[in-house]
Amino acid sequence: MALRLLHHTRTAAVHAVLILGAGLMAYPFIWMWRASFQSAGEIFGAVANPPPIWDSIAENYGRALFETPLLRFMLNGLIMTGGILIAQVLTTVICAFALAKYDFRGRKILFALVLLSLAVPAQATALPIFIVLAKVGLLDTYLSMMVPYLTSGFAIFLFHQFIKSFPDEILLAARLDGMTEIEIVFRIVMPAMLPAIAAFAIFSITFHWNDLYWPMIAIRSADMAPPTLGLLFFRSQGGGGDSFGPLMACATLVTAPLILVSLVAQRKFVQGVTMTGVK
């Protein structure tokens, strides 16, 4: 009986901690959603007779969508994250395949360098890359947003672990059938590792959609800005406290795609990270 009680209290305590953590994470979002549903006055304190909530929503989201270049920002963000993801998958799968399945001199050193690159913070390489881009005259272009992220040490590592457990005999069979190595990668290995690629894609998309640091360095004109930077432009341009509602509406719209994707792909995501092997 006592044991059972202990078990229950422990479960309750664990859940309390988890709920607290979840609340801490969710609170800024809840605040953001609430603010995007309110008129300017309401956000900072009680107003005697607030306008109806539908009016506030129409006002905030209307201004967010039609008076700011939000859709343009989101298109920029889509091009940037999409471009980065495609480039990353193409470069890292091939690289991981070579590291996992070929035996060549220097393979271990190369792999160690890949792992080492994970320890280098983006800030350390930002300045040299910026200078190069400035010299080449590529600043303020889509390409400049993508350049530092065209490949990924993390992806190489993740895919390497996956490909290593891929049966060698299938590769031998493919070679015997007459496939070229590049076809083996794209026709045999890649389809088998789609879950792993999906898991990495979520990491990559989240990171780059939310990234502010690099776009702030590489991008100057509002036309090219991805959503995060765009919001910053919007805030400094709009100034005053009265546009807080539309700003929060913008933020809600910018974060919405990621939240939806995470909700839908949650299970796949866990699968992809925990999975190794073909079956």
Partner: protein, 390 residues
């Protein structure tokens, strides 16, 4: 369809210091079914992989037909292979799996790029031909209802059949099989064994089959090459491997019931076992300590009134349908166990006579007895029962 012979000359393979293959010479006839038999790690799979071209020999040469292929890449060798793990492409349907070798050989690299089917009528035409061929092969292997399934939805036997289909679809001149049946259960193994034999007879392709299962090797092959630590110990017909093994190691490896080994001494043609002379003579054998090896059916249980070589305590009787195997305690003869096999009727008769109870009297049948030297080589000396000539 016709197979080509394989000629392996002086093949060696080293990995670092370790010599995996030491001077292999093997001449496989066109259309032959040859099995490489040996315990795991003896180099049989390595040799197969050298022939397929997955790895290069350290020295020596391999010819298929008249072509020197030692340095050619796998796809240029005109060989097909079936793997132990089936090695099917996991996300492709059965039809795609079987058709893949044809797609690779009939379409150019550019024609294989995605979407090429949309633009070129020629590519569509080739795909249609491939589909027809795949359909024909699937019909031969009873795979037609499964063509749209993925490998994960198939049983082990079906998967192996798909792998065979993928291998024969482009009509290779040599067919390599690397322990294709060892992942299957016993009953299925026997069924597929028969199917593979039928396939060999029907196609006339040269089969090179690797296994560690001696019953498989004996049942299917024209010839068996027994390998031991990187060399071929004996290469002969199954009957000869069984009846006249060139070394004790081969004798131990072959046969479903373990061979009996008795430590004997030869003294001027007489064979002494535990200081007693047997009724067996090896007239030409030199005087030395030897091993007398007896297949379980080369020992005969005899009734009381017949002359026996030795009488041993009976430990266990094992029935397997038509055959009965007796296990006797042979510590008195300087070895552990002696196994004797006989027909079930004979066993019943002898037991009825009271000849098989706690003790059983045994006689050695001279014609199948084998005498091995101290180093394990078969001694050429003729064995005969004493007085048989008189």
């Amino acid at each position: 369809m016709h197979g080509h012979g394989i000629k392996i000359t002086n093949a060696r393979k080293q990995f670092g210091r370790a010599e995996i293959l030491q001077r292999i010479d093997l001449d496989i006839q066109a259309g032959e079914f040859l099995t490489l038999l040996g315990p795991s790690g003896c180099g049989k799979s390595t040799l197969l992989r050298m022939i397929a071209g997955f790895d290069q020999l350290s020295s020596g040469s391999i010819q298929i037909g008249d072509r020197e292929i030692t340095r050619l890449p796998p796809k240029k060798r005109d060989v097909a292979m079936v793997f132990q793990s089936y090695a099917l492409y996991p996300h492709m349907t059965v039809a795609k799996n079987i058709g893949m070798p044809l797609e690779m050989s009939r379409l150019s690299f550019r024609q294989r790029l995605p979407g090429s089917r949309l633009f070129s009528r020629q590519v569509r035409e080739i795909h249609r031909e491939i589909a027809q061929t795949v359909d024909k092969v699937a019909g031969q292997l009873d795979l037609k209802p499964l063509l749209d399934r993925k490998p994960a939805q198939l049983s082990g036997g079906q998967r192996q059949r798909v792998a065979v289909g993928r291998a024969i679809v482009r009509q290779p001149s040599v067919f390599l099989m690397d322990e294709p049946l060892s992942n299957l259960d016993a009953k299925l193994r026997i069924q597929l064994r028969e199917e593979i034999s039928d396939l060999h007879r029907r196609t006339g392709i040269t089969f090179l089959y690797v296994t560690h299962d001696q019953t498989e090797a004996m049942a299917m092959s024209n010839r068996v090459a027994v390998m031991q630590s990187g060399r071929i110990v004996q290469c002969a017909k199954p009957q000869e491997i069984y009846n006249r093994p060139s070394e004790l190691a081969v004798a131990r490896f072959v046969g479903s019931v373990a061979i009996n080994e008795l430590p004997v001494t030869v003294a001027s043609g007489d064979i002494l076992l535990a200081q007693r002379s047997l009724k067996l003579r090896a007239a030409e054998a030199p005087n030395d300590a030897c091993t007398l090896a007896l297949r379980p059916e080369s020992l005969e249980a005899v009734s009381h009134d017949e002359e026996a070589d030795f009488t041993l305590p009976l430990l266990h009787v094992e029935f397997s349908g038509s055959e009965v195997t007796l296990r006797c305690d042979a510590s008195a003869l300087g070895t552990d166990r002696i196994r004797v096999q006989m027909r079930a009727e004979r066993f019943e008769r002898l037991r009825g006579e009271g000849a098989i109870e706690d003790q059983v009297a045994l006689r050695i049948l001279a014609q199948n007895a084998l005498l091995f030297s101290r180093t394990g080589q078969l001694m050429p000396a003729q064995l005969a029962t004493r007085g048989a000539g008189r």
